[in-house]
Amino acid sequence: MHLQYFILTNFKNYESQRIDCSSQLNCFLGRNGMGKTNLLDAIYYLCLGKSHFNLPDSLLARHGADFFRLEGCFTLEGRQERIVAKVIPRKKKELERNNLPYQRLSEHVGLLPVVMIAPDDTYLATEGSEARRRFLDNTLSQLDNDYLQQLITYNKVLQQRNALLKQMADSGRYNAALTEAYDLQLLGPGRAIHQARQAFMGRFHGLLQEKYRIISGQAEAIDCAYDSRLNETPFDQLLEESREKDRILQRTTAGIHRDDLNLSIGGYPLKRFASQGQLKSFVLALRLAQYRLLQVEKKAIPILLLDDIFDKLDNERVRRLLGLLLEGGFGQTFITDTDENRLSAIVEHFGRDYVKYAVENGTATKIQAP
């Protein structure tokens, strides 16, 4: 699978831009703040229908513009897939596949697998559990569309249940039957998601350790354990046990929306005990394992977006990452960098077909090969 070209209209700092891609390696060169990352985010948006950076659509439209449009032409198993996103923030969001609008945006997720590796990925380890759940959900949704549907249902029911708990506290009238109605509706999707996450961790674990060994060059044991109260206690029992607590706290305290991944290194929690280097290696390994898993389990080889990683990673890790990339097995890759010489060296190293663009203030110009 690869992207042939993509067109941005009023997206971030781009007024109108077309990028023709190589099916192998694509480089965006430019100083900081020129819009290299925005090009990667546009690709990400076309693949998953949202920004990698969790930005609302209103912040994606170019300053002063009231809409944005993205178009991308992909080749998937020999077929052409033309994806168009038309967004008027807060008013309309439409995603089309081959001129046919999707009824539900979520149906698109999984068609075009993508992984972005960005310098601030360390948030996966340092931030709260929500970041790690998003990582899980992102990967699983791309693998299995049913997972995403279950998750959407679960979240909607959860919202209603929390709103109910709040209202009951305000009015002072507890409605046991209605709470139970929501409990029953949480059970199905909750159990399905828990099962899917558990099964996923079984497949993911080995890959993660392998990638970590390669990236860090270390043999230290790392672990990524799925932490969920549903591991020990059936969900219906959990909901029943927390009923009183939920009532007092006015929110749902048990369920898969509280799951976490416990990242550890040599038996110690990553967040508190790891060095900066170990931290970076760990999150890089997480991303590479995510890529590998998608690659193995999807029919299509995912697109790899590497944002500025050569600037933020030390030489040793860059060398090992490049080694991995060179080994092959990676599909279409997009790289951004600020340093032309470094990028040129990488490109030559690759010896593969490539395209280079110079990015300057919202305009990308193709650099002709000498």
Partner: protein, 205 residues
Amino acid sequence: MNFSSKLIEEAVSAFASLPGIGRKTALRLVLHLARQQPEAVEQFAEAVAKMRRGIRECERCHNLSDTPVCNICADPRRDQSLICVVEGIRDVMAIEDTGQYRGLYHVLGGVISPIEGVGPAELNIDSLIQRAQAGGVREVIMAISPTIEGETTIFYISRKLKAPGVNISTIARGISFGGELEYADELTLGRSIVARVPYKGGGEE
């Protein structure tokens, strides 16, 4: 829009306050009425005003009615042991149009959605339970949209409605008649496969 007449402007604003009517359409309607005989427009206005003065909720099923008890509830030929629970009045009309149902209705006036501030107390649920428990009711049919809010409402009513001898059923969900399988959305098709029914032959459901 600039109006030469204050009267026209007021009438346009009144029409434009109706659902589905924009200012352009409102103007068209007003200009049409302005060209009519005054008596005809009086009649028109009177029909609307009379409707609003006379219309009320049926005290049994909460359907709209001219009389304290609506035509459907008052009809002795209808099966009094069946109650079909719907969200709104339009659902009653839709089911009536099928000609397949000869029981009674119960209009809830919405579905439970705490986010929208709609709880059981805002809906006609208590009166439904009273009706079902009053005796003579054999089956309560839930004809409610298969959304999360709809499911909650069904769950809730079924929990509350504990009357001996009263069965609770829901309308069937799945592939529409005359619909092409390949155009059915995955969710519907998937559920239809899971909830398949024994073939009875002859096309008769």
